[in-house]
Symmetry: C2
DNA sequence: CTGTTAGCGCGTTCAA
DNA sequence: TTGAACGCGCTAACAG
């Protein structure tokens, strides 16, 4: 029952050696005699000694954990398959480097508070704008950060993204190539996963630029398509679809996220509108559910996760932090939801 | 640049008060004069002071984090939609209680090592057997644990599960009711998500008992169906399907997991064997991908997660740990993969 | 080379 | 309102 925790002191007392010797026996055996090491280790085993990881980390000034900042409330964030696959990538990298992965939900709805209290060595964000106040907190805590889908123009914060303009252009071209002209575009909200106004250089603006480029090749402009913004959940996608369909029937929905595309697809399916096409954006990983169903632009979430974790771990270990902006590949994935006119 | 972290000492020096006073100003303002509180807080703001959460936690002997032990390598665990929904439930509960959720991958392939080093206040496991050595580590660390899908007969470890026997009986009855008699059952591996031999009282055995009960009502026994065990991944499900189909063609596959059922469904779909039925087990949450597709027995993963997190938090806060075994509901979910004969 | 002493890190809290 | 001790492991500096 209430047996007190065994500490390094207990081992020291039991063996007659000092705390230092015990510590060395574990971390730097060559520093003391073999005989001493042996005695100490066997005593430790006998007493069932486990070094307290918190005390150890405190001493070393490390946590052995990366933090992933959930951009929305926990359920919503984790319900987003794109975010889910990002987490998979981060987790895989963490595992191989012996780190834990700590999911950080907003604390009392405040991301700032959450970051102030997070016991991690570094933070990965996704799709949120990192404002002055958050930057201040990170700086004061000396906490490195990598922003997935962050701005490539940011001079202070490293990012991992795709070529959003190119990817969006590809997406729209696929739609146009197949003859669609009555197009409804469901965009991301102003700030991808949180609420904020659209900024130049944002993912949203880059994608729009890509769409414009594609449309131009068909002598069209953004004003020839219907634009509607939506949160990135299946439910929000359903609402967006219903909203669009109440005023007109496009031949194709172009969505900036798969979650939304799923919601749209559900509505179309329920209304037996199988002739209306849908193309998504994000893609999901092999092991996920229902791989090949949705036609979409795949940006490997898990690769973004992996790459960002690698960058973050390098920043943590190297101490120096050259700000880098890396991109990962994207591709078109044929499914069953984008037809020809 | 290299401005050293601001500590409680700095505030004390700057204001002329003691560390103690500063600490009280933050945590227990009524202990000191209002004037002091005000001076201290304003000085703290001026110096941009953020209390170091690790030092704070170390002092308090808390972590403010729950740990979720990944039963397999990170990618595989997180790729399993059932596990994913469990994590969602845990995360939601953590968020509401101001805790973080730390995913703990096996360290150097060792769960024991991972648990030794985990900086969390308690641990939730899923589908793994908690052996003597692991119990020893948990005890020595004074770390409470809740085992999802753990044994209800365990006198030392609290668990959250469903009535596996009843659920399996329901699953098989649905199949039999619809006229299926040539049945292939794909079971869980011996230990749900790790490798170990089947034990009486295990999920596997309970489910088998449920199947037997259902079959008996149709004057059949387990030896009238084909049994094959498989890991709980989509890929393993594909392999299982191919293996079964190489020797005979059942009218229905009964799977103990949705991941496996998905793999089976993919193979059937590729081979245009649309007349062969599949029923899964686990179910997925609303916000997930492709909700209504697979016919399955739904055990709410997120509810298991929520309940287990609640139990764990109670154990952490109450200090006392009455071992409890709770069950959550299950239900049949009609999809499009279970036909009539 | 082996081992120890002493102090650190930082916020909390007991005794005064 | 405060000085000092505490939690626990790490490590610089030093002595034998």
């Amino acid at each position: 029952m209430g047996t007190k925790r065994v500490t390094i002191q207990d081992i020291a007392r039991k063996t007659g050696y000092s705390k230092t010797a015990v510590s060395f026996a574990f971390n730097c055996p060559s520093r003391i005699s073999e005989a001493a090491v042996e005695k100490i280790l066997s005593a430790a085993k006998e007493l069932d000694y486990i070094p307290d990881p918190m005390a150890r980390n405190f001493s070393l000034g490390k946590h052995m954990a990366l933090g992933f900042l959930l951009p929305q409330k926990a359920g919503t964030s984790l319900g987003n398959p794109y975010i889910h696959s990002v987490i998979k990538g981060i987790a895989a990298e963490c595992q191989s480097k012996g780190y834990m992965l700590t999911l950080i939900p907003p604390l009392h709805s405040s991301v700032q508070e959450a970051v102030k209290n997070a016991t991690v060595d570094g933070i990965i964000t996704i799709g949120i704008e990192i404002d002055r106040s958050l930057r201040g907190i990170l700086r004061r805590r000396g906490m490195p950060i990598v922003a997935i889908d962050g701005s490539e123009d940011d001079e202070a914060i490293s990012s991992v993204s795709i070529d959003d303009e190119g990817a969006a252009e590809m997406q729209m071209l696929k739609v146009l190539e197949r003859g669609h002209r009555k197009i409804a575009v469901i965009t991301l909200p102003g700030d991808a996963y949180s609420s904020s106004s659209a900024k130049p250089g944002s993912t949203l603006e880059k994608r729009k630029a890509g769409y414009a480029k594609a449309l131009k090749q068909y002598s069209m402009t953004l004003s020839d398509v219907t634009l509607l913004s939506s949160d990135t959940t299946i439910m929000a996608g359903r609402k967006a679809a219903e909203s669009i369909l109440s005023s007109f029937t496009p031949t194709c929905f172009v969505s900036m996220s798969d979650a939304v595309a799923m919601g749209i697809q559900e509505v179309l399916s329920e209304r037996k509108m199988d002739d209306v096409s849908v193309i998504g954006f994000d893609g999901i990983e092999e092991e996920e559910y229902r791989t090949q169903y949705l036609t979409t632009i795949v940006q490997s979430g898990s690769e973004k996760g992996r790459v960002s974790a690698q960058m973050l771990l390098a920043m943590i270990e190297d101490r120096q932090s050259p700000v880098m902006h890396r991109t990962v590949e994207y591709s078109f994935q044929e499914g069953r939801t984008l037809g020809w006119i």
